[in-house]
Structures are given as C-alpha cells and as structure tokens.
C-alpha cells in the first residue's frame, strides 16, 4: 500500500512537470512574426515617405532659400544685392534634390574630390539640412534612416563625374528593415547633361561619345531601433 502511494505521487509529479512544459511551449510560441510585421510597416512607411518627398512643397517644411557663392563663400557684396538670393518655396523636395544633383556634380580624379567653382554649393548644404528636418518630421523617431541619392557615374579617362549625397540618422540603428528606391529624372536632357559636365570641367567632350543617364536614384533605408 505504501509503495502504491509513492507511485501515485511520482505519477502526479511527472504530470505536473509535463503540464508545465506544455505551458512553457505555448507561451514561447507566438502566432505572428513581429519582424515580418515591422518590416511590412517600415516598407509601407518608406514608400509613403518617398512619395511625400515628391509631392510636398518646400513651403510645407518652412521654405528654402540660399545665396550664390564661390568656393564656399557667399556673395554678400552690395553691388550684387538681393540678386544672389534664390527662394524656391513652390518646388517639391524631390525637385530640389534633382536640381541639386545637376548643379552640384562632383568630379573625382585619382580617388580625390576636386574643388571646383560651384556657385550653388550653398544649395547643397542647405538642402541637406532641409531634407534632414523633413525626414525627422515624417519618420518621427519611429525608425532610424538613411536617404541616399546618386546618379550613374560618367567615367572619363582622367576623372569620374557623378552626384552622390547621403542624409542619415543611424545613431540607434539595429537591423535594416527595408530599402525602397525611387527614380527621378534630372531636369536636363542627355545633351544638356553633357554640356553641364563640359561646363564643370571646362573642356570640350565632343569627340568622346559619352552616354549620360539622366536619372537620379533615391534610396531610403529604414532601420529598427
């Protein structure tokens, strides 16, 4: 009789152990994949953000103005007056980005950026600030982000001409959730783009038969925090 009682106790203990194991297994299993859900949300937010860059005017983000200059110095001489000031409040953020790409092409020779006379250099800097504040407002701290805009480089024998800019807030970034890309056409034809490159370099590229792709690729990555 005593042995039987002991057997019952062991039986109940094993039962309790098995039930606890079952509860633990159930608790660990989740019907949804949180990573998939946040990836879906991030992708949708990234697409909406790119579209809002294309459709929102600069006015909605506090306006945009800059001054023409040279080698990083503003033209503040009295003769020039207000004619060096550019106010572009009715344009969209994407439009400004495409114009910036055209006006601030970079020339690289032997892996180093060449310092050129770029009258609209101030636009590049101010636009980066504007885009940063716009992205901070749209994404609203939900994710870390990196916006990358680039044109296809044009390779010459002696130099490489391209545009590339990056605006990022990756201070608390953990995992990349999505990467969405938008194509923007530059406000210039292939011919005008080649002319622009000739202006930038100060040489004639007539005999080189260059092919320039007038597309700016804008990629927005969202990262979890």
């Amino acid at each position: 009789m005593e042995e039987k009682g002991f057997g019952y106790i062991v039986d109940m203990l094993v039962f309790a152990l098995l039930v606890s194991t079952a509860i633990l297994l159930l608790a660990a299993a989740s019907p949804t994949d949180p990573m998939a859900e946040s990836t879906r949300y991030a992708a949708s937010l990234a697409q909406s953000t790119l579209r809002s860059l294309q459709n929102s005017t600069v006015n909605q983000f506090g306006g945009f103005e800059y001054r023409l200059g040279a080698f990083g110095f503003e033209l503040n001489i009295p003769v020039v007056g207000e004619s060096a000031k550019r106010e572009l409040n009715h344009k969209s953020l994407a439009q400004l980005l495409a114009e910036d790409a055209l006006l601030n092409l970079r020339v690289e020779a032997a892996g180093a950026d060449l310092t050129l006379l770029r009258p609209n250099q101030d636009m590049d800097e101010k636009l980066r600030e504007l885009l940063k504040s716009a992205l901070d407002r749209i994404i609203g701290g939900r994710f870390s982000y990196r916006l990358h805009a680039r044109t296809e480089p044009i390779n010459l024998e002696f130099a490489r001409v391209h545009f590339e800019t990056e605006i990022a807030d990756l201070t608390q970034a953990r995992t990349q959730l999505c990467s969405e890309t938008m194509m923007l056409s530059l406000p210039a034809s292939q011919e005008e783009l080649i002319q622009r490159i000739e202006e930038v370099l100060g040489i004639d590229l007539f005999g080189l038969k260059l092919e320039a792709c007038p597309i700016l690729e804008v990629t927005l990555e969202l990262w979890s925090r």
Binding site: L26, S30, S44, R51, Q54, P187, P214
Partner: protein
C-alpha cells in the same frame, strides 16, 4: 477503489504535451505562410508605389518642359500677341515634353527592368494647355495620346500592371499670367502715363522758372513723377 480503466497522470500529461506540440507546429506553419504573404504584399505595394512615383516624375518633367518653353518664348515676347504667345508656349512645351519622354522611358527601363513606358509617336499628341490660376500662376494640362501607358511587372512575373497615362496636370510656379496681365495694363495705360508724366514735368519746370528764374532737372523727381503717373 477499482483501478482498472483509469489512465495514469503521466500518460495524460504526455498526451497534453503532444497536443501542444501539434498546436505549435500548426501555428508555425501558418506564421510561415503569413510571412510569405507579407513578402508578396510588400512586393506588390512596392510596384504600386513605383507606378505612383513615375507618374509624379512625369509631372515634374512636364513642369520643366513648361519652364523651358516659357523661358524661350518670353525672350521674344514682343513678337507675339497674348493668344499667339500662349499658343507658342503650349506648342513648344509639348515638343519639349515629347522629346523628354522619348529619353526618360528607356532610362527608366535601364534602371529598373520592371518598368516600361509605352508612348506613341509625338505627332499624335493633342498638346499642352495652359490655364491661369489664383495668384497669376499657371496650370499645365496634357492629354497624352491614346495608348500611352506605363507597364510594370513584379520580379517573379506574378503581378503585371498596365496603367494608362491620362490627363497629366501640374501646377507651374511661374507667375506668367500675372506678368501678362500687368504688361497689358501697362501697355494700355502707356499713353496716359506719358501725358500725365509730361504735364507734371512741365508744371514743375514752369513753376521753377517763374518762382526761381531757372529750371532744375532732377532724375529722382522725374522717377517719382513717372511712378505717380
């Protein structure tokens, strides 16, 4: 107490564990299926987003075509009357836009193989129409020819979209109509301005001659009279 027919607790517990394992594997399978669905959803919505972005980019291209036409025609603005000038801007903008589309269509396809912009010959284009809106700004409207469309397909070819391009409308931030109105007013009143300006100059000159015995001419005063006229 009769023990026969009773199940030991251990066997019941093992049964419960097996049931739970079954439930969990079913949940894992459903989760996997849902994840696959999520990937498809993201890919489909990315395709729709690309379509919307390209439509937005075409609007921007239309805007630049109008800017360029406004610049070209306005350099010789006095060669036209209002209607002819507007017509010249519309025709030139249409030509620029058609030229631009012929270039960016292949560029899109080169960047993203999922995209194909199908636009018929530019001779079939009805043309851009310009309309004045509040503040003297312009609204450009274009009805692309029948058959113009944007084709997109997903990478695995499971989804294909054909979106007809119709009625592209864009706000042009150039105050062309305000300038035209002001110029018309100025031209209309040009005769009056000359008369009034002349009268004011004569009166001042005669007044000066009678009172001081000499006539003083001053450019700043003349400008003030001109502006007052």
């Amino acid at each position: 107490m009769k023990e026969r027919g009773f199940m030991p607790f251990t066997a019941a517990g093992a049964l419960i564990v097996l049931l739970v394992l079954g439930m969990i594997s079913h949940a894992a399978w459903s989760r996997h299926q849902r994840s696959l669905g999520t990937v498809d959803d993201i890919s489909d919505s990315a395709l729709l987003a690309t379509a919307a972005e390209i439509q937005g980019d075409l609007k921007a291209a239309l805007k630049y075509a109008v800017y360029l036409a406004l610049w070209e025609v306005s350099r010789q603005a006095d060669n036209y009357d209002d209607a002819a000038r507007e017509n010249a801007i519309e025709q030139l903008a249409t030509a620029y836009f058609a030229e631009r589309l012929a270039e960016i269509g292949p560029a899109y396809a080169r960047y993203d193989a999922r995209v194909e912009l199908d636009v018929p010959n530019s001779s079939a284009w009805s043309g851009i129409s310009l309309e004045g809106v509040e503040g003297g700004y312009a609204l450009a409207r274009l009805e692309p020819p029948e058959g113009a469309c944007l084709r997109l397909r997903s990478r695995d070819n499971s989804l294909s979209l054909v979106l007809p391009l119709e009625n592209i409308e864009v706000f042009v931030d150039s105050r062309y109509f305000l300038l035209q109105e002001r110029m018309d007013e100025f031209v209309e009143r040009r005769g009056d301005i000359c008369t009034w300006w002349g009268i004011m100059e004569y009166l001042t000159a005669w007044g000066g001659a009678w009172l001081n015995g000499n006539v003083d001419l001053s450019s700043s005063r003349s400008r003030a009279f001109f502006e007052a006229a």
